[in-house]
């Protein structure tokens, strides 16, 4: 069990999400930065998709009530174990009574806490990803006691130190494919998408990231159609909205671009005020 002593800004339990329920209007959910979450799991010897804690911007204070091994990957929020600095991307053994806390955000926006064997919180529709209306708990709150798998022992062998490439945490290049309605844009509007940087607006969360700059357009709304995480919608007022993991299953705005899977991970580590550039990749 892991007890939440203080909540941070916003933390949830996430795995790789709910698949096969989209025809009922259920979002996929799942870790925003699947690359970092997989890394934390794999470094522990877990399956890459095991449930982790996704920690946004400012971390919680957690008390371990059992011995286990943990690993943190993704944003650097200055993690500390009992006030001693804790390295990212390194399996660390903890014992009952140990306190994990976080400090200053140095880079990135979301970090992932993996525990040996994974979190064993409530599973609904094949996933432990928290989502309002689907799971009972939708966010980590004070005094929560989170179940972890203590039956898995045997993480003894330390993996050779691996060099972690921070490329995806530093890059601001968002690789995109053409979206279904890309060709509805005039050539000059298409070029505008790739010729200048865009800024992440304050409206950014697990559902969607809105961009600040406006792309004036006269596209008609489309008849409501399916959308996917990573779809970039263009509203009549010219707002660009990048859908993220908790997005609705359908939408009525033209889908002008579609982020590549890795680009969703990269964008997940960006926050208000950061700049990004779209780069078109031909299919």
């Amino acid at each position: 069990m892991i007890k939440v002593q203080k909540t941070g800004f916003y933390s949830t339990i996430q795995d790789f999400g709910r698949h096969g329920y989209q025809e009922y209007g259920v979002p996929y959910s799942g870790v925003m930065d699947a690359y970092s979450a997989s890394l934390a799991n794999v470094l522990l010897g877990n399956k890459a998709q095991s449930a982790v804690m996704e920690i946004t911007m400012m971390g919680p204070v957690l008390e371990f009530q059992c011995s286990t091994t943990i690993c943190i990957s993704g944003a650097d929020m200055t993690p500390k174990l009992n006030d001693l600095p804790l390295k990212l991307n390194k399996a660390t053994t903890v014992k009952s009574g140990d306190l994990l806390s976080f400090g200053r955000l140095n880079y990135g926006f979301r970090t992932y806490l993996a525990v040996l064997g994974g979190f064993k919180t409530e599973k609904v529709m094949g996933s432990r990803s928290m989502y309002q209306g689907i799971t009972k708990h939708t966010v980590i709150t004070k005094n929560d006691e989170l179940l972890v798998d203590t039956s898995v022992k045997g993480f003894v062998k330390q993996l050779a130190t691996i060099k972690i490439d921070k490329f995806h945490l530093n890059s601001n290049i968002i690789e995109v494919l053409k979206g279904p309605e890309f060709e509805m844009l005039s050539k000059s509007k298409q070029e505008l998408l790739f010729s200048k940087p865009f800024t992440i607006s304050k409206d950014n969360n697990r559902m969607a990231y809105q961009l600040t700059e406006i792309l004036p357009n006269n596209l008609e709304p489309i008849i409501t159609s399916s959308v996917l995480p990573g779809a970039v919608q263009l509203t009549p007022s010219g707002k660009l909205i990048v859908l993220m993991r908790d997005c609705q299953t359908t939408g009525g705005y033209p889908r002008v671009l579609q982020l590549k899977n890795m680009a969703i991970n990269i964008l997940s580590q960006k926050f208000t005020g950061n700049n990004i550039r779209f780069k078109l990749i031909e299919f």
Partner: protein
């Protein structure tokens, strides 16, 4: 059958198949048939097929996806089917209470349309609606078949909170909010039943192609049904459709 379809990649491992851009029951049946045939063909790399008004989204295993051959395979399947394959559709009777307690926009609609409230209620509850697909929120049914005289523009400013079960009209559409949500539609009633159950293997009772008929109930009946729903013993009425 026989529609001019377009096939486009959507993301790294999906194909979006599009029908003419209109909302039409025959197109819906064609889309449902194509989905059924794709399922029957058992293409093992297809992990999900999603319906909307005028498209099918076919999602493949990421590492097994080859665009050109997959599009060709789908085209061959579409060309090969000669008759529509329909699953069994049902018509569902959905209790709705149009009492003033819930119907907070009905007065305004009545004034603007110069139509009595009871006339609006009658028109709304006598139509038979087709379920096109589920989206927007878990369990939100996109319905076709709203009486043209009831078309009402969305509110200029959406409400931050719309109660679960709210029955509303937005533009040419009508629907029921399956959970609390923000929304800009005009509120005309409330249904006491559950449209989504996360604990159930099949979380929604209705599917694409089914029909819905709203049944006007009094406030007292509403409360009775609500108690039965909360106790988990309410039986929704439905019948098979033969046509």
């Amino acid at each position: 059958m026989g529609y001019e379809l377009t096939y486009k990649p959507f993301g790294e491992h999906s194909i979006l198949i599009e029908w003419p851009s209109i909302i039409d029951k025959d197109i819906l049946l064609d889309i449902i048939s194509f989905k059924e045939i794709i399922k029957k063909n058992n293409i093992k790399v297809v992990i999900e097929v999603r319906i909307s008004y005028n498209s099918l989204l076919v999602i493949y295993e990421l590492n097994e996806f080859v665009l050109e051959s997959s599009v060709q395979e789908l085209k061959n399947i579409y060309a090969s089917f000669r008759e529509q394959i329909k699953p069994i559709f049902r018509q569902w009777k959905i209790p709705v209470c149009y009492d003033d307690q819930f119907a907070i926009d009905l007065d305004e609609m009545s004034l603007e349309k110069n139509m009595s409230k009871s006339d609006i209620i009658k028109r709304h509850s006598s139509a038979i609606y087709t379920v096109y697909f589920i989206g927007f929120l878990p369990g939100f049914l996109y319905l076709g078949g709203l009486d043209k005289t009831l078309y009402t523009p969305r509110k200029a400013t959406p409400r931050l909170k719309i109660e679960k079960g709210t029955v509303a009209i937005g533009g040419k559409q009508t629907g029921v909010y399956p959970s609390e949500s923000p929304g800009g539609w005009n509120i005309i009633g409330n249904s006491p039943i559950e449209f989504f159950n996360a604990q159930s293997e099949i979380p929604c009772f209705a599917k694409s192609g089914d029909r819905i008929k709203f049944n006007s109930v009094s406030l007292k009946e509403y409360q009775n049904i609500k108690s039965l729903v909360e106790a988990g013993v309410y039986q929704l009425e439905s019948e098979m459709i033969y046509d």
